[in-house]
């Protein structure tokens, strides 16, 4: 696992401002720096992960690892603030269950609103990526 890859430094959240900013995001405001883009991306990935059915945080992390062949290395813990925020915005909903070894597990599931949001953002992202790619392709 030593492929350098794009390490998404979700530590960008932190510098004391973390709480404030995550708070801000949950209230619908958008800070004006780059982290916004990155945060939004993580949320997209999570939503996508949930399209296949309900999943817990660990499962989402593993799925991302598999699908991106470990290129995107998330700090796995950072999934959780994102999940909680998305739950508050109504994109996912959660329920508790019991795992095979009798631990409490919290499962997340995509809501209709989340699904719609995913669709919208995906097409937007795709357009963006296509445009960038086009530019980069020219000599």
């Amino acid at each position: 696992m030593t492929t350098p890859g794009v390490f998404l430094p979700l530590t960008v959240y932190g510098n004391g401002d973390t709480l404030q900013r995550s708070h801000k995001l949950s209230m619908g405001e958008t800070p004006s720096r780059n982290p916004d883009l990155l945060r939004g991306t993580v949320e997209l990935l999570i939503l996508k992960a949930l399209t296949h059915g309900r999943q817990h945080g660990f499962g989402i992390a593993r799925w991302l690892e598999d699908v991106t062949s470990d290129v995107l290395r998330l700090e796995e813990g950072s999934l959780y603030p994102a999940l909680h925020r998305m739950e508050r915005r109504g994109w996912v909903e959660s329920e508790w269950g019991i795992s095979d070894n009798n631990r409490q597990v919290k499962y997340y599931r995509l809501t209709r609103r989340g699904r719609e949001y995913l669709q919208r953002e995906t097409s937007g992202w795709t357009e963006f990526a296509t445009a960038v790619f086009k530019v980069l392709q020219t000599t």
Partner: protein
């Protein structure tokens, strides 16, 4: 799925414990990671390290998640509270509308209680704590001359005394003096013709505005030289005059207006909201500061001062007391027996203070009675709703929620009462404004004081909330099943003890007792005063005033001629029975009440402060006849009593009795001190007393002198008509116009109107007390009724059983009555005791009435008891008449 549903599922596991949930979530992930790495072949501890690394900063993740969750929890809780509140409001209103009898009754009672109290407090505030357009009113004081031996509570100071006050007193920062007197404003019309108008004006020392700390909004204030300089006459306009007469034209400064025949230059205009003494004052004129040489006999100068910082009214009073004593020693002729009194801006006499205190106390008691009544109603209602409340608790409503809903009901009730109280208060305040407003500017803009309304409503809210919550408070002691199964009256056996209800009934009855007794005493005193004959007839008497202007008739004799001519013209009219005039209205009303010391010819010298004194009135022949004042001895004035003839006087009965107790006063001589001529006058007749408005006043020692021998510039005329008095108004105008077409006829009205205006203030007071007492009595009686009625309703089963078992009607009725009548009786007794205390406190107002008059006390007590018994009997008898079988079946 709604957000709330998710939220509830989220909470299901740990209850509302977000931190535990987040920890569980994180723990699972970490553990899963460890297992993941172990499965890939790592050693256990290395797996842990790697798992921690892969996860990231646990603490940070945890805190971020918690922030989101807890914020969410707060928002959800807020929403829930809001929903619950609006639900409570709807339920509360529905609870009130569903029970219209209770709601209407309660609202009515609250309206009366809050309305009367708000009125009284607004009134008190306007008089005692007015919001005046001057700086720091509490530090302003007035000084007055006082001579209680002569029945003078307050009178203006003399020029000399005031001058001494200016210089000698240390308690005051600044002292100013003023007189209010009308001036004649003359205007020439562009089309020719001169229009003269009397306008209220104030002549003040030039430091008055500085003392009040107000400055003109246009132009400048007075300066000391304005008063000293004879040539320059300046005037400052009030905003009222400026707006009405000059159209708020900013260029008035420097213009001249003609006052009293002389041009005055306008130098300033006062601000819009400013008024002092009276809102009618239109112009201010400067006058020089009082001088010691200005004389001490005539007391005409109103004095106002600002206390030095650190001085109080008490210290100032002590200060001027010393001054007054010194003046009495140094000038015994004019000042012996006179004190100087320091008061606040509004000098209320002792009688007025007592009366206001009484009215305030009684209306406050009425409010307490109203609250007690409402409380009883709420308690009764609470008992009925015990079942409903218990069911609601069984269905899962938290006690706090139920209490909140009941509280909202009480709030709604209080708000309703507050709104309805406006219906009560507004008309009363309008009436006070109409009747008393013209007499004092403090009440001319009387309106509802918002603070008073808020406080009174708040008090009733407190009371109704307290008692309205009762059924919820008792919840814990009642299980749902019991409350539903039991008949709403409680157990069948025994007398249910309701000490709170008894106490409230007792309170209401006690308050009613006090209100009734005190009001009856006061009313009787009022009738006693009315019964005293005035000493004159006011029916069919027209009165008016003439004030001959100095600018037109500078010679005193010319002015006197005018007044005499009018008199003669009127006397010549056959339709008039008699015409007279005097310098004052009877009943000792009217401007100024100069009492004078007199010297009796055949009396030895006495100490200066014990000299005989009198109230002097100058009259024209016909005065006594016009007003129907009886002649007891000798004769009244005739044309022979001219300025060349011997000086004469007519005295009143009390004066004769006071100074010539066993002798015939006719032929005796007296000398009025302060009279410029200071000649001896011979008494030629004795007439009946004309009593002052205040029957306890000693000012019945009256002396009359003829106008011809003591002329002046102003007189009040009294025209006794044979018939159709209103049409005589025209006769008056014609007569006056015949002498001088420009001379205005002032205050033309019927004498009966004058008297009713003079007594209107005390009439209002009487009315207030009577209404108050009536409401208190009604509350008490209906309170007794409703308590018994409710007890009867509760104990229907018990009564039915007793009747079925052969109980006699009287015994059952007696059993029911006992519960309500016992507290009522105690209330009456307590009320009697309180009445004794209150009546003693207001004894000075109870003219001719014993404060502990047994007839009144006994009569009221019996009347209330009878009313209470009657009120109790109605529901009790009705209950015994009911068919026991149907009553039992109805359960």
């Amino acid at each position: 799925m709604g957000k709330d549903t998710m939220w509830r599922r989220y909470l299901r596991f740990w209850g509302a414990d977000p931190p535990a949930d987040v920890d569980a979530e994180i723990d699972f992930h970490l553990e899963a990671l460890v297992q993941h790495f172990i499965a890939r072949g790592m050693a256990a501890d290395q797996a842990r390290v790697e798992a921690a690394r892969r996860f990231g900063n646990v603490a940070r993740v945890r805190s971020e998640c918690l922030t989101v969750d807890e914020g969410w929890a707060r928002a959800a809780a807020r929403r829930e509270t809001l929903d619950a509140l609006s639900q409570d409001l709807r339920d509360g209103i529905r609870g009130l509308t569903g029970n219209p009898g209770f709601t209407v009754g309660a609202a009515l009672i609250l309206a009366l209680g809050i309305g009367l109290n708000t009125t009284v407090f607004s009134f008190n505030r306007a008089l005692l704590f007015p919001s005046l357009p001057i700086a720091d009113p509490p530090s302003l004081v007035r000084m007055w001359s006082q001579n209680l031996a002569r029945g003078i509570y307050v009178e203006p100071l003399s020029e000399g005394d005031s001058a001494d006050l200016f210089t000698a007193s240390q308690s005051f920062d600044e002292v100013a003096g003023y007189v209010t007197e009308p001036v004649t404003l003359t205007r020439t019309h562009p089309r020719g013709g001169v229009e003269a108008e009397r306008i209220p004006a104030m002549r003040a020392t030039t430091n008055l505005f500085a003392l009040l700390r107000v400055a003109p909004v246009l132009g400048r204030a007075f300066q000391p030289q304005d008063a000293a300089d004879e040539a320059s006459r300046v005037v400052i306009l009030s905003d009222r005059a400026w707006t009405n007469r000059f159209g708020a034209d900013r260029s008035v400064i420097g213009r001249d207006i003609v006052l009293n025949g002389r041009p005055h230059t306008i130098v300033g205009v006062m601000p819009h909201a400013f008024w002092f003494e009276s809102k009618e004052i239109e112009v201010w004129l400067p006058r020089p500061a009082p001088r010691v040489e200005g004389g001490r006999g005539a007391r005409t100068l109103m004095t106002i001062a600002r206390l030095e910082s650190g001085a109080t009214m008490q210290t100032a009073q002590a200060d001027v007391q010393a001054l007054a004593q010194r003046l009495a020693r140094e000038h015994p002729q004019t000042n012996a027996g006179w004190d100087i009194l320091v008061t606040g801006l509004l000098p209320l006499g002792p009688g007025e203070k007592v009366f206001f205190g009484l009215v305030t106390t009684l209306t406050s008691l009425l409010l307490a009675a109203a609250c007690a009544h409402i409380a009883n109603l709420l308690l009764a209602r609470g008992m009925e709703r015990r079942g409903e409340v218990a069911i609601r608790a069984a269905l899962g409503a938290r006690r706090g929620r139920i209490m909140r809903q009941l509280f909202v009901e009480s709030v709604a009730l209080s708000i309703l009462g507050g709104i309805c109280s406006l219906v009560v208060a507004l008309p009363i305040i309008a009436e006070i404004r109409a009747v008393l407003g013209p007499r004092t500017s403090y009440l001319s803009d009387l309106s509802i004081d918002g603070v008073a309304l808020a406080i009174t409503s708040g008090l009733t809210l407190l009371a109704s909330a307290l008692f309205g919550l009762a059924p919820a408070l008792r919840l814990s002691s009642v299980t749902a099943g019991d409350a539903i199964k039991q008949p709403p009256g409680g157990p069948i056996t025994g007398r249910p003890r309701r000490p709170l209800v008894s106490a409230l009934i007792g309170l209401e009855v006690a308050i009613a007792t006090v209100a009734l007794i005190v009001t009856v005493l006061y009313t009787r005193a009022g009738y006693n005063i009315l019964a005293i004959p005035y000493g004159f007839e006011s029916e069919n008497v027209v009165t008016f005033r003439l004030d001959v202007p100095e600018y037109k008739y500078s010679e005193a004799s010319a002015a006197a001629r005018v007044l005499t001519d009018v008199h003669q013209r009127l006397q010549a009219l056959p339709s008039l029975a008699a015409v007279g005039a005097s310098t004052r209205l009877p009943l000792n009303m009217g401007p100024g009440l100069p009492t004078q010391a007199i010297t009796l010819e055949d009396r030895p010298e006495v100490a200066q402060d014990q000299r005989p004194w009198t109230i002097t009135t100058t009259v024209m022949p016909g005065y006594f006849e016009a007003l129907g004042i009886r002649l007891l001895q000798g004769r009244t004035f005739e044309s022979q009593d001219s300025s060349e003839a011997q000086r004469v006087a007519v005295i009143s009965r009390s004066m004769a009795r006071a100074y010539w107790p066993d002798l015939d006063p006719v032929g005796r001589r007296l000398r009025l001190d302060g009279d410029t001529t200071s000649l001896w006058r011979t008494v030629i007749g004795v007439v009946d007393d004309v009593r002052p408005l205040d029957p306890t006043s000693p000012q019945v020692r009256q002396t009359y002198v003829p106008f011809a021998q003591s002329p002046g510039r102003a007189l009040i005329y009294f025209v006794a008509t044979r018939d159709a008095p209103l049409s005589r108004f025209q006769d008056v105008r014609v007569a006056v116009r015949g002498v001088d077409s420009e001379l205005p006829v002032l205050d033309l009205r019927m004498m009966t109107d004058v008297i009713s205006t003079a007594t209107s203030g005390s009439d209002m007071g009487q009315k207030t007390l009577r209404v108050n007492a009536a409401i208190a009595a009604l509350l008490a009686v209906s309170g007794v009724y409703s308590v018994v009625a409710f007890a009867v309703a509760r104990r229907r089963r018990e009564i039915a059983i007793r009747v079925a078992l052969g109980g006699t009607r009287p015994s059952i009725v007696a059993m029911l009555l006992g519960q309500a009548l016992r507290p009522a009786l105690i209330g009456v007794v307590v009320g009697l005791v309180l009445s004794g205390l209150v009546s003693r406190a207001i004894a000075i107002m109870l003219f001719g009435v014993d404060p502990l008059d047994p007839l009144t006390y006994g009569g009221t007590a019996i009347a209330l008891c009878v009313a209470a018994v009657a009120a109790s009997c109605v529901p009790a008898l009705r209950a015994t008449r009911a068919n026991p079988v149907s009553a039992l079946r109805a359960e």
